[in-house]
Each structure stands twice: as structure tokens, then as C-alpha cells.
Symmetry: C2
Subunit: 469 residues, 2 copies
Amino acid sequence: MNQPLSPAILKRPLPPEVLVGLQAIFGERVSTAHAMREHHGRDESAYDPMLPDAVVFAHTSDEVAAAVVLCAAHAVPVIAWGTGTSLEGHVLALQGGVTIDLSQMKQVLAIHADDATATVQAGVTRKQLNTALRDTGLFFPIDPGADASLGGMAATRASGTNAVRYGTMRENTLALKVVTADGRIIRTGSRARKSSAGYDLTRVFVGSEGTLGIITEVTVRLYPQPEAISAAVCSFPSAGAAVTTVIRTIQMGVPVARVEFLDENSVRAINAHDHLDLPVKPLLLFEFHGSEAGVAEQAGLVQQIADEHGASDFAWATHPEERSKLWAARHNAYFALLQMRPGGRAITTDCCVPISRLAECILETKADCEAEQMIYSIIGHVGDGNFHVLMMVDPHDPDETAQAEAINARMVTRALAMDGTCTGEHGVGLHKMDFLIEEHGADAIDTMRALKHALDPKNILNPGKIIRW
Amino acid sequence: MNQPLSPAILKRPLPPEVLVGLQAIFGERVSTAHAMREHHGRDESAYDPMLPDAVVFAHTSDEVAAAVVLCAAHAVPVIAWGTGTSLEGHVLALQGGVTIDLSQMKQVLAIHADDATATVQAGVTRKQLNTALRDTGLFFPIDPGADASLGGMAATRASGTNAVRYGTMRENTLALKVVTADGRIIRTGSRARKSSAGYDLTRVFVGSEGTLGIITEVTVRLYPQPEAISAAVCSFPSAGAAVTTVIRTIQMGVPVARVEFLDENSVRAINAHDHLDLPVKPLLLFEFHGSEAGVAEQAGLVQQIADEHGASDFAWATHPEERSKLWAARHNAYFALLQMRPGGRAITTDCCVPISRLAECILETKADCEAEQMIYSIIGHVGDGNFHVLMMVDPHDPDETAQAEAINARMVTRALAMDGTCTGEHGVGLHKMDFLIEEHGADAIDTMRALKHALDPKNILNPGKIIRW
């Protein structure tokens, strides 16, 4: 599937002095082994691996900076790597170079419980942070599914299930430590909750996918653990009825913490994978956070709206174990779906539209998948207007891949016509570069390119991603 | 007070062909009258006016673009102007040039009630937008005090009283239309609630104070009008007790919509100005939004915390008229304070710190003002850790101004030592440029400068603000 990429790539061999220099900085923590390079040359996208020439494991911002200085001097590409769970080809070493694996930067540097902030090294994952927070009464809500690193989550502007209530990495990143393309280390903000002190460097780097700088530390907002949590699951006669329930819930301003849509294909897959017996119908999975009374009030409102749209099998899960089981199933959906077609390859995509257009967008996309007889499922963080399509294709049949990509293209065109975006949370990577132009227009892309040229004048930071040089 | 600015200014006369060109674009809507230039050469800061050479009144993005193309061709400065209510010298025409007044761009272009978004021309003020929303059940929460334009609010990353609950312009701006320094018109986002589609151009321009582009349209998030609103006011034996009440409220995660601190000087001033008889003691003004039950729950919690800190005269204002009277008094505080010293000049400043450090920061700043025998008051959007100091000085006594500036400098140093920011919401303008370097460090400022050079290579957009070229 790397056909759209190969032509323009000019891959130069790694200069030997760079390898020597890396060994001087990282000692044993440099690898040129094929297996290591291959592991770092792929993510969870459908792309074939594209290998870096070397992989280094950083422990400090200073080491990252030293590696960047060395690579900059020889115009060698530098790719930051967290957990490799990106979905659109973000970390593939399109032009070779050096992958800096940050996963060993695992120090939780500071938890300021009194201020509800935490500062961590980039390799700390969201689960690790939440474990460290266990005794504080606080939690970090952003949950993209994978146990991703906070550096990677910031770099891809991740969000996920809790974003409808708590926002995305855009809203929850207070400050970053970043290594710039010339190897300087900057800090982009403070721990103040708001600031008007100059250009918003934090948000310049959040979502820049390693193309403007390498994030080595992240300061995030935390939230008090809610006094009460309850979850509810309910089935609907149609996808339209389910999504309309969500639209109405959001329009009424009910502050749901999570609301996930699973189409009947997803339900079938997680039933099989997680040994559940959910009705094989479109399903919504809600979670409510608040005081005991507040949660009951929210849940009552939602049940009423759901009833009006023909919901059935409304079931409450107030016990932590029940809740965990349901959410574990939701989190496993990706893996469950892979089993829908053993030996198949998953092509995933996402988009996000204004909430009023969500039912239309999902239903038309679903109809398109049906018409093409695709093996597919649709899952969504629907409270934000965001949904995912996962299509299972035969990796040996280029027509099927082309068909899936055509469905993806039509979905994006549909989302853009509704004043939505070509990706709500996956990011651009390689897969959405052309759609980015369609979404923003050539002049806005020129403005993005001006940022890239200004902050990475030698084009060494994750080159070939987001925008063309 | 323009002593720090004058030396380096190289002001060239406006080339006559620029004036002719502007008249071709704007017809009668061009002025070179002294009164008009003087009106546009000042804001609500203490700086003496610095006049542009001409003022034009734009009606469309195309007109703004045409003016920018013309000015760019002659390297003439262009300053965007909304309502002139900025506080740190943002709109002063340091190098002359052309001020583009956007206040006649007053069209509410679209209200998408089903999506809770609105798109307006830059000159629409927050009150005008809320009037337009009256029948929709929605409102736009951001309230910096002044009835500022949404273009100006986006440009300065404004926030204000409701930010603790609803966020600032950073979180609530979905998309912008922007005229770039070479006169192109770009759109920076969609109406989707979240997006990972490339660099976050929206937040590059939000808070850039007209130095990177001219905002001509703004798309914002709206919120359902709460089912219930209540307000409470209570007095405290000391500023420390009041602020500690706020810290505890925020740490417990009570979702207050507003919480404002007024020191005893502020209370005395608004009593006189608004004919109120509030006890002349430090005071908190709360507002709660939610369901009837939710509001009662929040208010109960807060009253309990306040009681623990010695609150007295706890009074509820659930009727709209009572609430309006209290909030009107709060909003008039600035004008009330000006009357504390007739003929005086106000020097205002703000900072923002992590919530746990707020009491310390306010008390030390207060002690500093007292030690210097300053006529001053402190008011704060304390839920965010943000507060303002207003000092009234004799405009004819340079020592008093120097004294006030020294207090300001010490406040900033104090806030930065607490990992806060030199300005929570006023912005940088002219007044905080040096503090910006202190806050971010030279390397981060270089990164900001790289953005400025990339997006405004001729330095024509509001030159001399935020960072030095």
C-alpha cells in the first residue's frame, strides 16, 4: 500500500560518522539490527514497514538534543517514537534516518495534586500516569484506546472516549519540553491554567506529529476522580436511532463523560472476542461522572431520550467490575474486528463532523460500505461527532485496498462538505496528506508549510509527513 | 509612560500612493483626521497615544486583504482594531501606518443552533452575539468585562469571568478566517469539535495580537443556557481566607461558573460607584450554572467551604435582577476604581499562577502595594489562578509610575517563580514584552520570532508588539 509514497523518496545511506556519534551519546542504546529497525519502521496502519537506519533509546532531553544536533549537521532525518500505536503511518521512516525511541523516558517528574497537574517524561503512558495518581484522588482522563505515551498523544493531538467531557490533548496540555530542529531545548508554557503570554507554542507542537520538534516532557491537567460513576448500555433498532439519541443528548447539554457508538458489526465482533451476549444491534455505551445526584439526573435524562428513539435492553452498570468489562470490550473492539477476517489487513480511518450532521454522515458511509460488500465496522466517539471506519481487506488483492481507500475518500469528502474534518483524532501521517489540502485549501497549507520551513529549515524532523516540503 | 518605546522607533511618512490606493478600496471610509487617528492610537492602557497615519473602516475580508496587499507592497504597517479595549498597548501605532478598524464588520454570518456554533464577522461584539442568540436557548460565555469584539477577543486570547467553567478563547474558537501578511485569505479550521488535521493554525492566530495575521471572521462554540443559575456573595475576614476558600473549591472539583475575588479597596470603590452597601471586606462573588438540583448542590458545598474559612454575610441572589446588579457592579469595578483618584492614571496588570500558589501570590503583591503606599485594588478571576492589580498614579509624577511598574515587575517575577505566567488574559502588547523573555527564555522567544518571520516576513503586521524583530 505504499504506492502513493515511493516515487519522490530520496533515501541516502546513514553517514558512518553519525553512527559513531550516536554511539558516543547513547553507548549500548543504539541499534542497527534489522529486527529493531523493522519494529520501529511500522505502526498500526496498513502501510508496509519503512525502516530507519538506526534506532536509539533516549533517557533525557539532553540526549535527544545531542542526537538532533548530530543529525542536523548531516541532514539526517530524525523520527520520534513512542509506543508505535499511531494509525496513519506517522512513524514510518520514509527517508530512513534515525528513530529516537522515547519509551524509556518513563519518569513521572512531578505530580502537583494541589494544582491538578502532572509533568512526565514523554515515554510515560497514560496507564502508567494513572497508576502513579492512584492515591491522589485525581486522574488523567484522555484515553485514545491504546496505552499510548503522553509524548505521542501530545504529538498526535490524541483524544478518544473521554474527550466529549474532558477535551483532547489540545485542551489538556499545559506545557511541553521540546527539542527544536537545531537541537535546542525549549519549554512552551507554565503550569498556569491560562495564559496570554505570546504565541501559543504549546499548541504549535501539539498535533505536529514530530515534524516541528521532538516532545520530551509533557505537563498535563488532571481532574478529581468523580464521586460517582455509572455506565449504561442500550441497543437500538437502527444506527440512525442510536446516533439521533446522541445528537439530542449533546444538544440538551447533558455532560456525559463518554458516549460510544458501536454498529451491529462491532457488537458481533466483541461478542465473539469478549464472550458477551449483547444484542446484535447498534449500541450506545454511556458513562456518567459527577455527584451521586448529578449522575442519576444525567442518566435519567439520557434514558428518556433513548426511550423516545426506540432503545431496548437499557442496562445499568454501576459496579466497577461490570463497567470495566464493558469498557474492556470497547477497547478490544479493534482487535476483535481484526478477527472478523483472519489473515486480512485492517484499513482504518476517522473523521469528525458537526454533531447535527453525524447521523447522515455515518448512515451514508455505512451504506457505502454495504454497497461495496466490504467487511467493515463503524465505531464512534459520537459525542464529539467523531467516528471510525475499520475495513478488513485481503492484503494480496490490490482491488480491495483500492475499494477501501475509495470509501475512505468518499467519507472524507462527505465530512468536509458537512464542514467537518478529515481526521478527528488519528492525525495525518501519510494517509491523510492529500485530504489535508482538500480540507484547508492551498493557501492555508502554504501557511502550514511556512511554519514547517521556519521551525525545521533542513526538513530533518519526520520528513514527508503532514505536508509536502 | 512611553519612555521604554521611543528610542528605536523608525517612523516613515505614509507614501501618498498608499493613501490613494486606500481611497480606491474604501472610498469615504478612509480618514486621516487627527481626532480619528488619535482615537485609534490608544487603548485602555496608560500609554500616551501613538497615532496611525490613516484609519480605514473595513466591511469585508476582501477589503482587508486588498488593504494588506497595498500596504505590503510599500512596507507600511497595518494594525487591526476592534473596540480599543485592550489594556497593554496592543493597538498603538508604534511605527505609524494604517489602522484597519473592523468594528463595522458586524454581521452574524451563521448560527448553527443544532451544533452550538456561531460564525461572525470580527467586529461583532460578545453582547451583540448574545443578543442574536436570545431565542436559541444558547449563549456565548466568554466575558472579558468590556463589550469587546470577537475578532479582538480571539486576537488577544481573551477570557474573563466565565473561563473557569467554559474556558478561554483558546478553547472556544473553532475556526478563523484570517488575512495573511501577503494578503491571502485563509480559513484555519472547520466546525468539527475536534480535529487532528495538521498544524493548529487556529491557535497560532488566537493570541497573536494582530502580529501574524488579521482575523476577519470567527467561529465559536456556544453552550446551552443553564436550566438554573444562582449567585452568591460573601465577605471574609481577610484576603487569605477568601482566596483559600477558592483554592479549596477548585481542588474539590466544584464546577463553579464564575468566582471573582474583590479586595476591600475594590469593594469600597464599587460601593461608592454603584450605591451598594457591601461590607468593606474581601469578598467573593460566585455564580453556579446547572440543573436546579446541581446548582443547589454546588452552592451548598461552596457555602460549607466558605463557612470553614470564616465567611460572613453569605447572601444568595437567585433572581435575575439581583444577579445583574451584582455582576454589573463587578463589571464596573474598573471604572469605579478610576474614581478612587480623580485625575489619576490607571496602570493595570495581571498574572496567573497555579491555584495552590494563588493566596501567597495575592497576599505578597498586596503587601507590596501597601508598603509602597499605592492607591490600588486587586480583583481576580481567581478560579483560574488569575488576578489583576490596578494602581492609580499621578500622571505628572514619574516616580509614582516607576513605583507602580516596579510593583508590576515584582509581581511578575513572583508569578514566574511559582510556575505561573506574566499575563493570564491581558496579553503582551507593549507592556509585557520584556517579561515574555523572562517567562519563556531566549530560545523559546527565538522560536516565536521564527514564527513571526515566517508569517510576516516584512514585519508589517502590528510591528513592535509581543516580540522584537
